[in-house]
């Protein structure tokens, strides 16, 4: 079943005389439970693509459907709400909220939505990610790998339709990177989560079901 699809997605930046084509006519289709890696050199447009897939940035042209919904037909506030229900983000810089403890960071999207927390489910994720001991710790007490695991838990907590991960191991050493990736993959497998991951690390990309290469805003798919 298709969970994400783009149609002729384009993002152009107008600079004084030249038009920079960050994304130039991208069509992707991702099925439920699939793990897709997007690779490309820096400046190739992979982050821009991910931001548009997540509704953080509006495209110049084209459409993004998530769970059958044309997300850019939504108004700004609706889009934000859609995002917190359907999309989980994992960033390179973890981006935890420093004033909230681990547990609060994880359940933040649920509570922002005003929903009751499914304790069992959240505890399961915390357990799988090995964060049970750290539930009440503040982010500044955690190592990089631990912080990223919290970010992953946060992305999973709302049972989103899709997880978008932007270089989630970019700030970690290689051993921790593999640990985190392993956890990310097992968890999403276990919970049957769809995931799109941006990386420039071939080794990590190899863990994906499918690799998409992007160069100068254009897609080259390889299986």
């Amino acid at each position: 079943m298709e969970i994400l699809r783009t149609e002729e997605l384009k993002k152009y930046y107008n600079q004084t005389s030249v038009t920079v084509k960050a994304i130039d006519g991208v069509d992707i289709s991702v099925s439920r439970g699939e793990f897709v890696a997007v690779v490309g050199t820096s400046g190739s447009g992979k982050s821009t693509l991910l931001h548009m897939l997540g509704g953080l940035d509006r495209p110049t042209e084209g459409k993004v459907y998530i769970d059958g919904k044309d997300i850019f037909s939504l108004k700004d506030e609706e889009l934000t709400i859609f995002r917190r229900r359907k999309i989980g983000f994992v960033f390179q810089a973890y981006n935890l909220v420093p004033v909230l403890n681990v547990y609060e960071n994880i359940v933040l999207p649920i509570q922002l939505d005003g929903n009751e927390i499914e304790e069992d489910y959240v505890n399961e994720i915390i357990d799988i990610l090995g964060l049970t001991e750290k539930k009440n710790s503040m982010p500044n007490q955690l190592s990089g790998g631990q912080q990223q695991r919290v970010a992953i838990a946060r992305a999973l907590a709302t049972k989103p339709a899709i997880i978008l991960a932007d270089e989630p191991t970019g700030n970690l050493d290689s051993k921790t990177s593999l640990d985190v990736m392993g956890l990310l993959k097992t968890t999403s497998n276990k919970l049957n989560q769809t995931m799109i991951l941006i990386t420039h690390n071939e080794e990590i990309a190899q863990m994906a079901d499918r690799i998409i290469r992007i160069e100068d805003g254009v897609l080259y798919e390889k299986c």
């Binding site: 997540g54 506030e77 917190r84 981006n95 909230l100 609060e104 922002l112 009440n136």
Partner: protein
């Protein structure tokens, strides 16, 4: 290889870096300049007004003393003067010889003394002819234009001046030729009329010997006494210098000496000094708060920039220099502007302040010292403000700075219990991150609230009734001008005659008139009252009356001075009764007397020398005696009495009819009180004013309206000064608040973007920011209502606690109003900030619209 530390010329390079950095942060620098201007304005205003008050007080004191000399003697003989002349430690010696007082009717309102003076004395007593010269011939005269105006003489040399002089012994009369005149400074109380040496020697020969002095003083005559004035080498500790001089010359206690208190340093009392120091501290503190805050925030948001400069080789010293250099450049722009604006503001503000201070003309002196002090203090404030930021920079390690992480500098707990996350709870947690900065904002907001509340409390506590009661008890009061002129020593207590009463009563709109008569007479005491007086004197100390005088008069002579009043129903109704019941009908029968109490009775358990119901034998000046029953113990309000008080003495209040039976030769009443129809107050005031100025110039009047205007002006001034100060404090607080909000958003840009990305809506983010704002108001509230309440009370006590027309009143509405205003501002600030901080995931800063 050896490295030499070389003194390289890098000023230019630093300067360039500075300018570039400043240009890149224009908005922030404009804010700092604005803050510097504000601080300087406050400094200049304080120093101009404070400085002018001090200068004017000193000048005024000199005017009151009547001389700019440091010290002087009074009632000297020529012998004594010659001794004084031989002393080598004094300088600028000069003298005047007293002839008498001018007794022309036109001069009743203007007490004028007649003297012979040396030219130097004329100069130091501010009465040197600016046109013409001092009298040289026997028929010449020199005086001020005020006297000439009173006498209706043209300001022309050679004019004839008709003068009568009361020497205490005889009345002299004659026509004189005007040889010189001058404009008397308005604050000089006594007018001077100068005559020639020849005239003085003829009619008031100078006292030559001790014997002359004794004969004259025993008769209460001063005519012919010599009054020298002189300077010491320094004005420090004049008392001791004077004592030394007297012992050098062998002068005893009988020689009447005086030092000029304008030099005593006591012209500014402790309260004024405390107040100036307090305000100065407040200004420096508030200026520091805002300038420091902006610098500090600037530095902490540019840590990476400074770290980078460090990695490429700038030393700590150079970095600190850069901060200081920026501060100096901004000061060069801000301070002169502040000085100018502050000076203009003080010119506008000072007349209002001056109105509440007696005898201050309200002219701001453009003294260079004022600008110098203001500039220095402002500059010190700026320099102080950038010390800590400079220190912060020098502590940055280059590596750390480049990697500057968002958690740095925030002290958060390692663990915390989980609570429900809402925008509000997040706001609470966020407040803890920059608590120091929040504290600064809270403190200035709270201070502004407390100050305005204290100001309003003070003015609300000023009781118009109390003020008026202490100043006037009827719509109008008419009396002889000498009573209202504090410098006139020959008060006429029988100056209001029947013609005046008839005229005033006939005016349309007058509803009620009442008279108060007064005479003084020595009373013989019986053993009971003598016992009470002695007990009172023992308990209250000898300062009440010199021991010798007391012994002679009271102990030996069993005598005491007394005032006897005769009053109408109008003043009767205003009596302040402390014991007994009064009733006009009963009082009017003529069998009763109301006895006054000594000034010091309060708290001493003594109310009067008589008890209610006792008999009192009253002796009148013409020898009459009558025994009355004491009806009550009470006092005429000060504005209805003679406006002076004996430290120890009796007072009897009788009804007017009874008084006139006993004192049938009274020339007139002391005071006439008039109540009028409110609608006609103005026309009546015009009539009375005309009457007292032209028809009977010896009379003067005061009115309730006059004192009411006085009162309202005073309140306005307090509100204005307090209001301006607290407005500035509040403004500083709000500016800091905006700054804090904007920078705190900038500092956690990434965090806010993440929150938005994971699904926090704009509305929720706004709610969180608003929550942070409102919690700050909340903390302010808590502070104001606890510590602030005490401070409020303290401010009020310092400002008004000692004032007689002040009654403490609990005022809280200004506080509540301010808090409400701050709540509105608290909601507005986050709304004022562009939402672009969440817009693009990669760029954009928070900016004010």
């Amino acid at each position: 290889m050896v490295f030499y530390m070389r003194n390289v010329s890098n000023k230019r390079c630093l300067y360039n870096l500075c300018i570039k950095n400043m240009k890149a942060n224009l908005r922030r620098n404009i804010m700092i300049i604005f803050a510097i201007i504000l601080t300087t304005i406050m400094m200049t205003t304080l120093f101009s007004i404070g400085g002018s008050v001090v200068i004017e007080y000193q000048k005024n004191t000199m005017y009151q003393v009547g001389t700019s000399s440091m010290a002087g003697f009074k009632f000297m003989t020529e012998e004594e003067y010659q001794k004084l002349e031989s002393d080598s430690k004094i300088s600028n010696l000069s003298y005047s010889i007293y002839v008498g007082t001018a007794s022309n009717a036109e001069l009743y309102e203007d007490y004028s003394e007649v003297r012979y003076v040396l030219p130097l004395e004329a100069q130091t007593s501010f009465c040197k002819p600016t046109t013409g010269h001092l009298p040289e011939k026997e028929n010449e005269i020199a005086t001020c234009t005020k006297v000439l105006d009173d006498l209706g003489v043209k300001h022309e040399l050679g004019s004839t001046v008709h003068l009568t002089i009361d020497t205490g012994e005889e009345e002299l009369e004659g026509d004189f030729i005007l040889s010189g005149y001058w404009d008397k400074p308005a604050d000089i109380l006594v007018n001077q009329i100068y005559l020639s040496k020849e005239y003085q020697e003829k009619y008031a020969p100078v006292w030559k010997t001790e014997a002359d002095k004794k004969t004259n003083l025993d008769k209460g005559i001063y005519s012919g006494c010599l009054n020298p004035n002189f300077d010491f080498a320094t004005s420090i500790n004049l008392e001791k210098q004077m004592a030394d001089l007297k012992s050098r010359l062998g002068f005893g206690d009988d020689v009447n000496d005086g030092i000029n208190w304008a030099f005593a340093g006591s012209t500014i009392d402790f309260n004024t000094v405390a107040m100036i120091v307090l305000i100065l501290a407040l200004i420096i503190g508030s200026g520091y708060l805002i300038i420091f805050n902006i610098f500090y925030i600037a530095v902490s948001s540019e840590v990476q920039y400074y770290g980078l400069l460090k990695t490429i080789g700038l030393t700590n010293k150079q970095l600190k220099k850069m901060v200081v250099l920026q501060a100096d450049i901004l000061s060069i722009v801000g301070i002169p502007l502040g000085l100018l604006m502050g000076y203009i503001i003080s010119i506008e503000l000072f007349p209002m302040v001056a109105e509440t201070l007696q005898g201050i003309s309200g002219v701001v002196y453009p003294d260079a010292r004022i600008f110098l002090f203001s500039a220095i203090f402002s500059w010190i404030t700026v320099r102080m403000s950038c010390r800590k930021p400079g220190k912060v920079i020098s502590q940055i390690s280059p590596v750390e700075a480049v990697r500057y992480s968002e958690y740095k500098g925030e002290k958060l707990a390692a663990k915390r219990k989980t609570r429900k996350v809402t925008p509000w709870t997040m706001a609470q947690e966020n407040l803890k991150r920059n608590f120091k900065k929040t504290a600064v904002v809270v403190l200035s907001l709270a201070l502004s609230i407390i100050l305005i509340n204290a100001t309003v409390s003070v003015t609300e506590g000023f009781d118009a009734k109390k003020y008026l009661a202490g100043s006037i008890n009827s719509d109008f009061m008419i009396t002889n001008a000498s009573i209202l002129n504090p410098s006139d020593l020959n008060d006429d207590y029988e100056g209001v005659n029947q013609d005046t009463v008839d005229y005033i009563s006939s005016l349309d709109g007058v509803t009620e008139t009442g008279l108060a008569y007064m005479s003084t007479c020595v009373q013989h005491m019986n053993d009971v009252t003598l016992g009470r007086v002695e007990k009172f004197y023992d308990e209250n100390g000898t300062y009440m009356m010199p021991q010798e005088k007391y012994d002679a008069m009271v102990t030996k002579g069993k005598m005491i001075s007394a005032k006897i009043f005769g009053i109408d129903e109008l003043p009767f109704n205003e009596l302040e009764i402390c014991h007994g019941q009064v009733d006009w009908e009963k009082f009017q029968s003529g069998d009763y007397v109301i006895v006054t109490h000594p000034d010091m009775y309060e708290g001493k358990g003594i109310c009067s020398f008589y008890n209610v119901g006792e008999k009192a034998l009253v002796e009148f000046p013409n020898g009459n005696k009558k025994e009355y029953e004491v009806l009550a113990i009470g006092e005429l309000p000060i504005p209805m009495g003679p406006e002076y008080s004996d430290s120890i003495g009796f007072g009897y209040i009788l009804p007017r009819d009874e008084y006139l039976i006993q004192v049938p030769d009274a020339a007139g009443a002391m005071k006439l009180f008039v109540n009028v129809d409110e609608a006609k107050t103005e026309t009546i005031e015009n009539e009375i004013s005309k009457y007292c100025e032209t028809d009977v110039p010896e009379l003067a009047y005061t009115s309730r309206a006059y004192y009411m205007r006085d009162f309202e002006n005073m309140i306005k001034t307090y509100l204005l000064v307090g209001g301006v100060l607290s407005f500035i404090l509040g403004l500083i607080g709000v500016l800091n608040w905006i700054n804090l909000t904007v920078t705190s958003i900038n500092e956690r840009k990434m965090e806010l973007k993440t929150l938005h990305a994971i699904g926090m809506t704009r509305k929720q983010i706004k709610a969180m920011l608003m929550g942070e704002s409102l919690y700050r108001v909340g903390i302010t509230c808590i502070f104001v209502l606890t510590v602030g309440w005490l401070l409020n009370y303290l401010f009020i006590q310092v400002i008004a606690g000692g004032m007689w027309m002040f009654t403490f009143k609990l005022v809280i509405w200004p506080m509540l109003l301010c808090i409400l205003a701050y709540i509105v501002i608290g909601v507005l600030i986050p709304l004022m900030i562009k939402e672009s901080y969440v817009d693009n995931y990669t760029s954009a800063d928070a900016k004010l619209y």
